[in-house]
Amino acid sequence: METTTLNSNFKSEEYFINMGPQHPATHGVLRLLLTIDGEIIKKVEPDLGYIHRSIEKMCERDSYQQIVHLTDRMDYLSANINNEAVCLTVENALQLEIPDRVKVIRTIIGELTRISSHCLWWGVMGMDVGALTTYFYGFRDRELLNDIFEETCGARLTMNYNVPGGLMFDIHPNFVKRVKDFIAHFKTKLPEYDRLLTDNIIFQKRTKGVGILSKEDAISFGASGPVGRASGYSCDVRKHHPYSALDKVTFNEALKTEGDTFARYSVRIQEMWESLSIVEQLIDNIPEGEHRVTTKAVIKLPKGEFYQKVETARGELGVYIISTGTKSPYRLKFRSPGFSNLSLLNHIAVGGKIGDLVATMATLDLVIPDIDR
């Protein structure tokens, strides 16, 4: 972008700054072109692509088993849920009957992933509004989850635990005990999160009434996940299109109507409680059985189009596969939640201050590789 063309559009008192791609608040390589009048934001224009790896193009040459591990690298904080999304698409296309054990384990790990992602988000949210200590408390709890994942899946972040047809291997014998320990631990820590940050007067002043998104706009901008639900838009895929074992559990969809930054914050905190309750309902009732259905070594999907949506920690992830009957998809599109959520940033940040933009962006919970894919 040339400065000359920019300047001609400016009123005399407005100026332009580059937030990112290396900026502490953008959590990665997002670049925001801000037009500012003093402290007040006039326009936010995201510039993407700093970490684009063209996963969709790579998928067009990979086999269906190989695609799964690429999704780890999209929204790496909910890697397991991404894996699950691709596996579900392939399994539905093949009309495979998946054992209950697999469904339950997938759901448990998915919800734990959600908690882990929200823990990190909580820490980073605190850091973005200036309370640095929350970062370490959030990571402390996330670390326990990472250990659970590492023991069962072998990796802490990019697990690639799901394969089309089930799970790569059965859960570790310690899994159930560790998860129960974690639930007990986390139930004492979540109220602490509230006491440290949620109730804090400065935090509430910083977030309430900031970055308001109305319900109509939320739907129009395709907001999903906590961002949509904070605006009173019931968009939980787990409720409306339940997958895996989610139809067997009871949970409340965290809904708020204010649509401001604080509402998005509270929705996530509440979601952690809900996820805990889902895990609690399932952890004692993991059915016995196979952990995997044998599939052909070369999976060929029937000709057709397949769409599967799942609820990741950030919102609705869609996997759209167009198959021509070969071993790779003809076209594979990931509808990533972060991409739609980012598109509304300009809409809600304009008129706020720089500090508001940072707080708002923190509650959108952007993961840049998820946007850039």
């Binding site: 100026y15 700054i17 900026h23 502490p24 608040a25 402290e39 605190g126 850091m127 973005d128 509004v129 200036g130 309370a131 640095l132 200590t133 970062y135 370490f136 408390y137 402390r140 440290l196 940050l197 804090n200 400065i202 935090f203 002043k205 910083r206 201050k353 720089i354 500090g355 508001d356 940072v358």
Partner: protein, 354 residues
């Protein structure tokens, strides 16, 4: 005007023997300045270390523990690293102001140190407008910040500097007024006199309720004066990257950094002097050993410094407009009412003194 502990007295006499009076005076001043500079450069470094350890303990970490015994030399090593670093700057910076800014900041904070009564006889400069001098000097530092932010020709630095200007000018009022509240009791601006008054009870006890309110306001405004969290609008790393010192590196950056910590020390030291009886020991338990005054002074100061660190590692940052709301809508009116209450108390002799 100079301290009269026995060693300093000997040096003083010796200097007057070997050179004419005027020269000796100047030499003496330079010597004292150098001693202060040395002590506080090192004290500042240890404050940085303390901050890092305290932060680590709040955050379930261990903190620096590798360089020297238990990491005691960590900040020394950092300082040496900063000394040896290349000084980079922006091409279009206003070179003169850019280079001048760090010195404004560091000199103003070092100057303020000269008036503190560390113990009965350990005070470099017992000026009779002590408190006034402190308030005046500590607000010069902001010029350095403004200059640094403006001259480095970086928009983030510029925003940071402007925020700093707004912040310091506003909170200067609260600092001054809350200290004035206490001056009503003492009836003097001279620091040694203020300490004398407190021999019949620390001022925070003498002035009870209004004094406690004044102290709270002072701590809030003092934290804001030093640009520390939750008032670190100036550097707000999640908003502005590094704020006004974005373009500074090496030793120039170190000056800013050191000044922040010395300022923190100064704010705590003023509070110690004005509210907590400076070098006076609690209940006079070590009155017979005057040298222990230094210990008590530092202990009280460090406790207050710790309190400021506690704030920093707990609270989120305010937004820039909320910062001003807090000052103009809450602190300032309360402060004004508080002064009137204090004046009434003193008028009717309702202060507590033993």
């Amino acid at each position: 005007m100079n301290s009269a502990l026995s060693i300093t007295k000997n040096i003083h006499d010796w200097l007057y023997e070997i050179m004419p009076e005027g020269v000796a005076n100047i030499v003496e001043m330079v010597l004292i300045a150098l001693v202060y500079l040395g002590i506080f450069a090192i004290a500042g470094l240890f404050l940085v270390l303390l901050e890092r350890r305290v932060a680590a303990w709040f955050q379930l970490r261990i903190g620096p523990n590798r360089v020297g015994f238990k990491g005691l030399l960590q900040t020394m090593a950092d300082a040496i690293k900063l000394l040896s670093k290349e000084l980079t700057g922006t091409e279009k910076a206003d070179k003169l102001l850019y280079n001048l800014a760090p010195y404004f900041v560091i000199i103003s904070s070092l100057m303020a140190l000269s008036v503190f009564p560390f113990t009965r006889e350990f005070q470099a400069f017992d000026i009779n407008i002590g408190i006034f001098f402190l308030i005046a000097i500590s607000s010069i530092g902001v010029i350095g910040i403004l200059l640094g932010g403006w001259s480095s020709n970086n928009k983030f630095a510029m925003i940071g500097a402007m925020r700093s200007g707004v912040q310091t000018i506003s909170y200067e009022l609260s600092i001054g007024l809350s200290l004035l509240t206490m001056v009503i009791i003492t009836g003097s601006l001279q620091l040694s006199e203020i300490v004398e008054v407190q021999k019949s009870g620390w001022l925070i006890v003498q002035g009870h309720i209004p004094a406690v309110i004044a102290f709270m306001i002072y701590m809030i405004a003092g934290t804001a004066e030093t640009n520390r969290a939750p008032f670190d609008m100036v550097e707000a790393e999640s908003e502005l990257g590094a704020g006004f010192h974005t373009e500074y590196s090496g030793m120039k950056f170190a000056y800013f950094f050191l000044a922040e910590f010395i300022n923190m020390f100064i704010i705590a030291a003023i509070a110690t002097t004005v509210f907590f009886g400076a070098w006076l020991s609690p209940f006079g338990i070590t009155e017979s050993i005057p040298v222990l005054g230094v210990f008590w002074f530092l202990l009280k100061t460090l406790i207050l410094v710790f309190l400021m660190m506690w704030f920093r590692w707990t609270f989120p940052r305010l937004r820039v407009d909320q910062l001003l709301t807090l000052e103009w809508k809450y602190l300032l009116p309360i402060n004004l009412v508080n002064i009137v209450i204090m004046a009434l108390l003193v008028w009717h002799n309702l202060t507590i003194s033993f």
